[in-house]
Amino acid sequence: MDNLILKIDNISKSFPRVKANKNISFNIRRNTVHALLGENGAGKSTFVKILYGLLKPDEGKMIFNDNVLNVQSPSEARQRKIGMVFQHFSLFDSLTVRENLILGIDNDMSFSNLQKNVNEISKKYELPLDLDAPINTLSAGQKQRVEIVRILLQDPELLIMDEPTSVLTPQEVESLFKTLNTLLKEGRTILYITHKLEEVINLCDEVTILRDGSVIESSKLENETAESLATKMLGKKLSEIKTDYKHIKDKNNLKAENLSINFNDPFFTDLKQISFNVREGEIFGIAGVAGNGQSELMNLLTGEGIDGVSGSLVYNEVDIKNFNPKKRRDLSIAFVPENRLGHSAVPELTLSENILISQFPNNNFLSNGMINHRNIDLQAKKVIEQFNVVTPGTDAKASSLSGGNLQKFVIGREILTNPKLLIISHPTWGIDAGAEHAIRNSLIELAKNGTSIIVISQDLDELFEISHRISVIFNGKLSKSYETRNISVSEIGLLMGGQGID
């Protein structure tokens, strides 16, 4: 039995529109904490699902404990002594802890044996559990404990932890690390999936970095620093575009102060005292890895998710934090959410019909409640021409457009209304290079004409190319802002990894 508990050889997996894993090869040494590092969309979750039997790879093979690993289901994986703690817990809310534990083990354990085993584990790893508590009364940290105890009951050799600290408080994180250390001392191996650089440095022995579906590097951690990890994780150097600051007026269009929302739901990231301001003509970028509060912040800014918000959001001297989307459009605020089909565009409707989704004052689309089809058609044509949307015509259904073209259409629709403020989330996610370029240019032009723009994105290249100032969101908090001409990609990368935001 050699030193390598898991050997991965050329694993590839494709989905209809994307190749998620491209020839992934690396090795995990026995009795180490091995980090799998990468941004959202890098291919980590696809790979892990293959390992755990939830997906079949198109190519490649894996060798676990010197035997070929070919599991068809999670319970087979568990029988091979591989256990997984999911990021979005596989727990059943209205059932009790005991019931959740039983569901996760494959052999039939009598109730009294279960109690005994759980008590032993709880004591050994300091993971106290109340077996009768319903899951929905537990904190995120306690829920994770249930997940961990669940896999420990089956005595795994390899534990996969998927973004384990994303929902934990600092104290809970410490507690988790203690547990992991105990597990290590027993000879187990941990595969630790994360995007948090500090944890990788503090906790892990080796790291494999994924980017765009491929392995960039796999090595021991002794020679890495947080900066070097950040650079490798995030990609190529920034381009030499000089952002133009000349046209920015000193007038604030939007000022956010201490915006907070408490969701009381572990699947939502609470927003804590978010403050920022955006001036006329300025492009303000908010960087961050997905899952740190971006969608919650976006919904707050568009008016789609404002229940329980406190603080103030002042626009033209009016606090608009409680306004719904239509009222915000009436004030000439436009917004483009991350998801197109089903959110900013209705797939079953034509492009002309999708023009009507966002209506601004002084539009000529309606008269007396009746739709003026000719005018929305003309508008759709304008958008298509000016933004080079490739489509057979204005009567094509939105679902027939490629991702890039649909995004061009949606952004074009919003830009042509001449908004004073544009809020846009992940503008070029999943889009081909040509469309990317066109979209970024149109945003820059828009800003030159006096519009304020807020861009929320994970793509640092993009943010550095177009924004004047940039902030980082992490765990629901917003860092202070920096002018992009005065800060480097890797410094921002560190902030995105959690360093420096208290």
Partner: protein
């Protein structure tokens, strides 16, 4: 009112509400796995007529109930194929099942309307209904398979991620529901009425559906709900005799009004519904996601 009258009233309530208990407990099991089957009324009627006709033709009570339960299994099996494999809309498919069941039962029973039979003593079934409710409760809360049923209803995605077959579990739940509804119908045509008449269930299937909501999907409460309805019906029947002077139709409305009021009260507590209703109810399961 002396003790004899009270006992008499309780007896009447028990006998009259037993079909509701069977149908409701069956539908509860189905819904617990996350499937809504609106075909209860149709399955009850088909169960009623097949039991009756089998009895008339063969003279065997045992055979009558067996055939009836099989018919329930067939009808619910059809429903299962449509909603689980072909992923059809659960609400519309359930409605189709009811309409089809009403028509089919009328066709089968047409020449037997008014045929006299020797009715069966209802007490066996009243007790059976208690036993079944108890067994369902035990199944859900004391066995691992029952736990899996509840888990599937709670989150089919998590259940699938843990390796359980969502389709198999739901199929079992649907078939059980179908058998119970057929049993409810056969009880009506052989013990309660006892006869066959078109549409003889008169909306009990829908009340059974409401009972499941009233019971917040907990088996024991089915009994409570059913007897409250039974009580309301008895009171309604007797109010006129006791001198309350309202036209008969308004009393007949009582069960339906009561159902609505109960639904409103239970549903308006959004948190309770969120916690008790099987979270994946009516959402179809796509394996490939």
């Amino acid at each position: 009112m002396n003790i004899d009258v009270l006992l008499g009233v309780i007896q009447i309530i028990l006998i009259a509400t037993t079909p509701l208990v069977f149908a409701a407990i069956g539908e509860l099991v189905t819904e617990k796995t996350g499937v809504l089957n609106l075909g209860v009324e149709g399955m009850m009627l088909v169960g009623a007529v097949t039991a009756f006709v089998t009895l008339v033709i063969t003279g065997s009570y045992v055979l009558a109930f067996i055939v009836s339960i099989l018919s329930g299994a067939l009808m619910s099996g059809l429903f299962a194929y449509l909603v689980l494999i072909l992923m059809s809309n659960q609400v519309a498919t359930g409605l189709a099942l009811t309409i089809f069941g009403i028509g089919l039962s009328s066709m089968i029973g047409k020449q037997y309307i008014g045929t006299p039979i020797q009715g069966l003593n209802p007490y066996f079934f009243v007790i059976l209904s208690f036993i079944i409710v108890f067994l369902v409760g035990y199944f859900f809360y004391k066995t691992k398979l029952g736990l899996i049923f509840r888990a599937v209803g709670e989150s089919h995605n998590s259940s699938h991620a843990l390796g359980y077959s969502v389709i198999k579990v739901r199929l079992m739940g649907i078939l059980f529901g179908g058998c119970m509804c057929a049993l409810a119908g056969s009880y009506m045509s052989i013990c309660y009425a006892p006869m066959w008449q078109e549409n003889m269930t008169a909306g009990r299937g829908w009340i059974a559906l409401a009972l499941v909501v009233f019971a917040t999907w907990k088996p024991g409460r089915i009994l409570i709900g059913a007897y409250i309805f039974g009580g309301v019906s008895i009171i309604q029947m007797n109010l006129q005799a006791w001198g309350v002077n309202l036209p008969g139709q308004f009393f007949n409305m009582a069960p339906y009004l009561a159902t609505m009021i109960v639904l409103i009260i239970i549903s308006s507590n959004r948190l309770r519904i969120k916690l008790s209703a099987p979270a994946s109810l009516t959402i179809p399961f796509f394996k490939g996601r």
